[in-house]
Every structure is written in C-alpha cells, then in structure tokens.
C-alpha cells in the first residue's frame, strides 16, 4: 500500500470533531470514527501525495508509528472510505 496512490473516496465526507473526525460514506452509509487528528490530516492529505509513503512523510509522523497508520488506512480502504487512484497509463 505504501507505494500506491490513494485518496479520500468522493462519496465520503469528513466532519471534524474534537477527537478527530467522523467519516460518512453516502454510498454505503457507513459511519466511521477517525480517532486521531493526525489520522484525519493523513487521510485528507492522501490525494495530494504521490503515494501513501509520501503522505506519511509529509505528515511528520515518526516512522515508528507508520505501521499503525497503515493498518488504519487498510481498514478505511476495506469499507471504501478511501479509494485507490488508478495509475496513469
């Protein structure tokens, strides 16, 4: 996943909350709670980065924490909260 380009799914809205954010998917109507502001910033920044690794680097998170964030991203991907960006041919 680290070398792939991802972005917030176009059907998802993020609502800022004191603990992080609430993500709502208008397609499958799932509600997910992002429990850390850092995760919210990461998810928002995905679309502007070349790949997930670049987004993590840009986030300033210590590398030791990356695996936990990657796990969270995978779970977001499983419910279509984030979507993989198709590679340009």
């Amino acid at each position: 996943m680290l070398d792939e380009a991802w972005q917030l799914s176009p059907q998802v809205a993020l609502r800022p909350e004191p603990f992080g954010a609430l993500a709502y998917h208008f397609g499958n109507r799932r509600l997910t709670f992002l429990r850390r502001p850092e995760l919210v910033a990461l998810v928002r920044g995905l679309g502007d980065s070349r790949d997930v690794r670049a987004a993590l680097e840009a986030s300033g998170l210590p590398a030791a924490h990356w695996p936990a964030y990657e796990t969270a991203l995978r779970r977001l991907a499983a419910t279509d909260m984030i979507r993989r960006v198709a590679k340009e041919p």
Binding site: A13, R15, P16, E17, P18, F19, L22, A23, Y24, F26, R29, R30, L31, T32, F33, L34, R35, R36, P37, L39, H65, A68, Y69, T71, A72, R75, L76, T79
Partner: protein
C-alpha cells in the same frame, strides 16, 4: 456502525485545543463529552396523526398551529447540511400527512442530508412506494407493534395492522429494498419475536426492535405494557442469539446489566450524540424526553439549531460527568451506565438512580418506594375519541363477586343467602 480503532496509537489525557477536554480514551468516553453536531438527530415534523397509539412518545394527534412552515423546514435542512449532520430520522406524529412532506424529503436528499422516516404506512401508496424505490439516501421505517392484527391493533388502534402491512407490501412490490419494520417491544408482543423476524424476511425488510419508554402517552400505559422482568431475559437471550441482523437503535443498553453487552454504543446519548427537534422548533435532549425538563431551546428564538446544540445550558450539563448515585456500588454500572434518563424521569425515579427496568432488580424496589410521576408538560392528543383509537379496556367481572349486590329493600328471607356449593 464501525469503529476505526487505530490500535497502538492511544495515549490518554493529551491536552488539545479544546481546552481541558481529554483526548484518547474510549470512543464512548469521547461521546459522553459531546460532539460538535449530533450523529443521530430525530426531527418530528408534525404532531398531527391519523392514529392515536396508546404509547405515543410525543402524545401526538393534533397539529400544533405553530408548526414550522415549509420555508422554516428548508432552513433547518440548510443548517443541518452546514453542520454536516449526514442523516436525520424524521417522525411525528405521522410525518407523511404534512402536505409538503415529499418536497422536504427531496430537499433534504438534495442537500446531502439522508432521511430515514417513520410512518404508520397510511400514505405509502403504490405510487409513493415507486418514488421511494427510485431515491437514494431514503430509508423507510414502518411501525408495527404486533406480529398479528390482534396484538398490534390493541395499542395502535383498529385497522393499523392492515395499513402497515399494505405499506410494506407496496414497498416490496415497488422494489424498495431493505425497509425497516419498527417494533416497540411490549409485554404482549415479546413472545412474537420470531414471527416479527419472519414477517421482515417475507417483505425483504429489516427488523428493528426498540424499547417501550414511559414518555408521552406511554406514561399512562407503561405499567401495563412494559416487559416483565422474566420477559427482559427472553428479549436479551433472543437478541444475543438472533440480534445480528436486527436493529435496536441502541435502545436496550439497560439489558447490559445481564453481564454481556449487546452490540452498539451502550450509552445514553441524550444531548451528547442525539437530540430531537420538535414540530415547532423546540430542541429536546432526546426523542423520549419531550418535557420542559429536557428542553434545550428553540431554533427560531435561540439563534438556530447549531447554537442550541453547542451552547444550551442543559446540553452542557448533560456532557459534564454524571453522578452514578445509588448505582455506584453496583458491579454492572460500567455496562449499563445507569440506564435510560427518560425512563427514570417519567417514572418519577431519581436521575442518578437505577433504571426502572434495571435487570439486577434495583428498578423494582425503586418503583415500589415513594415517587411522584411528573405531570406531562404538553399534550397534542386528540380531544375526542376517534373511530380508530385503541381501546385498551376489557369488560370483565369482579372475580370476588358471584352475584349482584343485595338491595337493602330486598324482602325475600333468603336474600343474600347462597348455599355452599358441594365439592
């Protein structure tokens, strides 16, 4: 509802920009501190209703002349969109009898506010069912409080079972997928849970079970209708065994005292993650608390919904740490958190005491003690009986009287004498 647990990232009591609000902890702990906007907002569009259900939470019947106009309702939806309230539960009264109901439904959906609405089915014609099947973001919830007409009509009124069944059939015929059948669990229908599930399966619908609250007219019938202690266990066991595809609106968290939590948040969300807007724009802490005691403000007179939600004193209080009072020493307090605030209030129990249906039995003793049931602060019930009003009285004889009383003028020397019946 999925929780995204960012495992390994939890650190507690981290200061943040919200002043002294602690970060981290569990999601429930965060919810208890309140959110910037509700997750689950109920909006009663009208107090008018074609039915007069015995247990109506909002004592509905008559339209309130101060009811929000179409323009005012649109403004509410605009504000919900700004606040990113992603969906709203619309109810009443019977919301579909507002002439602008279908317009408001479309308006909400067009403004990224999904709608789930509750109905008794009276206006779900084949044509409306086809319209509903063509929309996204609209959920329909048909109320049914008995799996048979006999049980249902006893509290919802004659003909109401047939109305609901026809609506469900129209929805299924139109290809509307996954309608909800919404059941308030009572003493009379708790034995029909399997039948309800079969009924839902038959209509391609999802079963939703919720708790009977002693709110509104429900206060008048709660003593006779709320499930008995042994039925609470039946309900809990049924939910544990079959609950996976059954919705509960998180309403049975008082059952968590049986030792095993049911899926869901298991917390009272009043004023923290849920609230209610009533037909005249009054905001209450939860759908089961339409009473002056839980009135947070009015969206017309107090600067809009967002302002009421974020600044009302009542909601600030509800988001502050609550006292566990008499429940402090109970081993199950952490699972049930003292139960339902509205259930306690409307049965005259202290807010920091046990739930009236506490499964550890503390509710029964609390109910047996001195208490004063609060008077309702409003009532929209119809002033006169209507043809489809439920009649919950049954004519019976006093069991201790074997014959009519003897008149003082009876001259018969054998008056009042009844020979002992041979065994």
């Amino acid at each position: 509802m999925t929780l995204l647990e960012d495992a390994g990232l939890q650190d507690r009591q981290r200061p943040n920009s919200q002043g002294d609000r602690p970060m981290g902890g569990t999601l429930v702990e965060q919810f208890e501190l309140g959110l910037d906007a509700p997750i689950c907002l109920t909006w009663e569009l009208t107090y008018a209703c074609n039915l007069a259900c015995a247990h109506c939470l909002s004592s509905s019947g008559r339209r309130d002349p101060r009811e929000l106009s179409t323009r005012q309702c649109e403004a509410v939806i605009d504000e919900l969109q700004r606040m990113q309230v992603f969906y709203v539960n619309i109810g009443g009264g019977e919301p579909t009898i507002r002439p602008d109901f279908w317009h408001l439904l479309q308006y909400a959906v067009d403004h990224q506010v999904g709608v789930k609405f509750s109905t008794n089915g009276v206006r779900i014609t084949p044509e409306r069912a086809r319209f509903l099947a063509s929309t996204d973001y609209v959920d329909v919830q048909v109320s049914l409080d008995g799996a048979t007409a006999e049980v249902n009509d006893h509290i919802r009124g004659p003909g109401s079972y047939e109305t609901a069944s026809r609506a469900l059939q129209n929805l299924a015929d139109a290809g509307f997928r996954d309608a909800k059948i919404s059941v308030v669990v009572t003493r009379h229908n708790v034995g029909q849970l399997d039948e309800f599930k079969a009924l839902a399966d038959e209509h391609g619908a999802t079963l939703r079970l919720t708790r009977l609250r002693p709110s509104g007219r429900g206060a008048d019938v709660w003593d006779d209708l709320h499930p008995l202690p042994e039925q609470q266990r039946v309900l809990f066991d049924w939910l544990t065994a079959h609950g996976e595809n059954v919705l509960t609106g998180d309403s049975f968290f008082h059952l968590a005292g049986f030792g095993e939590s049911l899926p869901g948040l298991n917390l009272c969300g009043a004023g923290r993650v849920v609230c209610l807007i009533d037909p005249i724009g009054d905001v209450y802490a939860c759908p089961f608390a339409i009473h002056d005691e839980f009135h947070a403000g009015n969206i017309l007179h107090d600067g809009g919904f967002q302002r009421v939600w974020q600044t009302s004193q009542l909601f600030q209080d509800l988001r502050a740490p609550q006292s566990s009072g008499a429940c402090t020493s109970c081993a199950f307090y952490d699972s049930c958190r003292g139960g339902c605030m509205a259930a306690k209030f409307f049965t005259g129990l202290p807010m920091d005491g046990p739930d009236p249906e506490c499964v550890q039995g503390y509710g029964e003793s609390a109910l047996a003690a001195d208490r004063v049931v609060p008077a309702p602060s409003q009532d929209h019930s119809l002033p006169a009986t209507t043809r489809n009003q439920p009649v919950m009285l049954q004519l019976t004889r006093r069991p201790d009287l074997a014959a009519p009383p003897v008149s003082a003028c009876a001259e018969d020397p054998l008056a009042g004498y009844r020979p002992l019946r041979p065994h």
